[in-house]
Symmetry: C2
Subunit: 340 residues, 2 copies
């Protein structure tokens, strides 16, 4: 039967002189099989090079072996790191990783997402930040009976539906570190307003100031948009304040590097005249001069855990470690404040 075409389960059954079902049992490691039959069937499978057809399996099982990563993320490094983590978890399994972008600003985002789920019917979906904060997408997953995990820094869903990083505490530690160098006027460049991650990071900033006994000064908080240019702009505004900050915490590396460049343009030396700390630990952070002190978050690990949670069988022990620690990476962009 297999002239040129792939051998099927029927070919195996015929050659091994057993039923299709028995072959199916061998493929799926059914426990209720005599060792003898199993060995025999396995040898035939080996011999003719039979490989189960994934689409047929998908139809019969009413599920496929695809995990989808749904994102609306401008940051390439972030995206690739998540993919890396997911793929680590998928290695050695039958699962594959599908990538699907959505447009946060599109009015049809919900319908687009629905269409995607209908088109591909993935077994599970990982919602990446910032789109993971969108409750409607999660709701649609539930409607479709598609499992999902939301990657985020804040608690936006039930714990079993989430993989979290503790941004707030990480930022707190970073700002405490700045304060420990002796800084009193520590500025914050915030992320996009309305984003939970920006909010979490601001809270961490406020936590730290409180802990260090410093007052929160709205003058020292500038709005950014997670982009390089917005970092430049925010920094320039800060430099014009009556009481110029001696240190800046930026809610991501891109803005931190923007602040770095802005400082250089203004002739302010980093770190001697100004300390800067970023967030993300992008590859760039280590390549700018001076190398940027920043917070590294466990993106790869979050991707990995998300995938593991999606693939877990009902009777598997639950994966508990869903709140992953970020870590301060100290480099050369922080020093004690200049003397007044």
């Amino acid at each position: 039967m297999d002239q040129g075409d792939k051998p099927t389960i029927n070919d195996v059954a015929r050659l091994a002189k057993v039923s299709k079902k028995t072959v199916s049992r061998v493929i799926n490691n059914s426990p209720q099989l005599s060792d003898k039959t199993r060995k025999h069937v396995e040898s035939v499978i080996e011999e003719i090079g039979f490989v189960p057809n994934p689409q047929a399996r998908a139809l019969a099982l009413r599920r496929n072996f695809i995990i989808a990563a749904v994102h609306d993320n401008p940051n390439a490094q972030f995206l690739v790191n998540v993919q890396k983590g997911v793929l680590e978890a998928l290695e050695g399994t039958d699962f594959g990783l599908l990538v699907q972008p959505v447009n946060r600003r599109s009015p049809t985002i919900a319908q687009d997402f629905r269409d995607f789920l209908e088109r591909q019917r993935p077994y599970g979906v990982v919602l990446l930040p910032p789109i993971s904060e969108n409750n409607e997408l999660a709701k649609i997953c539930r409607e479709f009976g598609v499992r999902y995990i939301r990657m985020a820094s804040a608690k936006v869903d039930k714990p079993e539906q989430m993989v979290r990083s503790n941004d707030r505490d990480a930022v707190r530690q970073a700002v405490i570190y700045i304060a420990q160098q002796g800084h009193k006027r520590i500025a914050l460049i915030e992320g996009r307003r309305n984003s939970r991650s920006a909010l979490e990071r601001r809270k961490g900033y406020e936590d730290a100031l409180g802990q260090a006994g410093l007052a929160i000064n709205e003058e020292l908080i500038e709005q950014g948009g997670y982009t390089f240019d917005s970092g430049v702009e925010a920094a320039l505004k800060l430099f014009n304040k009556a009481s110029r900050p001696t240190a800046i915490f930026a809610s991501n590396d891109e803005m931190a590097i923007g602040a770095l460049i802005a400082a250089r343009r203004k002739g302010i030396e980093v770190p001697r005249g100004l300390s800067i700390v970023g967030f993300d630990d992008t590859p760039m952070a280590n390549h700018v001069w001076p190398a940027l002190t920043t917070v590294r978050w466990p993106i790869v690990e979050m991707g990995r855990i998300a995938a593991l949670k999606l693939m877990a069988k009902p009777d598997d022990p639950p994966i508990s470690e869903s709140l992953l620690p970020s870590q301060l990476v100290t480099r050369d962009s922080v020093a004690p404040p200049p003397e007044e």
Copy 2:
């Protein structure tokens, strides 16, 4: 029949009082159908919210709607740009994008790739550089009857199996541009040896020197490995030469930025004391100081064309534009050479 479950083609057929086949014809836009029947069936489909099951379709058609991007690429921006291009082409179609990494150095790479093809049986595969230069993977695709496109800068396969960028000519233009500023000692920092892209770029460098009437001086050619650190190292070596170069062309931005940092460390001012040109136009290129003059290659466009070629039906007109132009992006890292 659809209590809680998705409606199927049977439900549509029953409610519309037509045969399954007729419904199937409507789904697939068969021309031989009366408008009346079509409208009627379509209204029923709309009413009960029927969506064809992709796995059943895949089984019956003996093909699915998945394009796989297979890569072994350390550069996040590159990867994401290719994905972006592919996804642009896929938008509005039934296709999805699967991402599969392979390990260039693994001895089992061929078997791993086979396993992947068997597991997912994608409709088509895009092989990304540098793994696209591996002939064995292409051969495996042919064995499996899986369509493939190789993205590369050199001609490594038949034109219909390729999407190319003209690295060589782009490098030639970049180096000519340097020469036009008056530089005589133009150095080259090469990419990883044995890679076709590195070879193409070197040829472009040699083309330009020849065109500008400059001799090729092996003293001014240093080996790099496409990494930031290798760029630093290569630049430091060049600075120690008896006849120090007044300009450097680096085969990618990471190395170019490495050279930039190395120059700064040595107190060499860019561009006044040294001109530098990179290749890739990564986001970083525009963020370093001085902003890097570099070559932008059409990565997104290449991804898009690759996907279009894969999805093209046999009777579609062939997609001819498979050699895509790179482009010199002039910024601030090039100036006339210092006077001697």
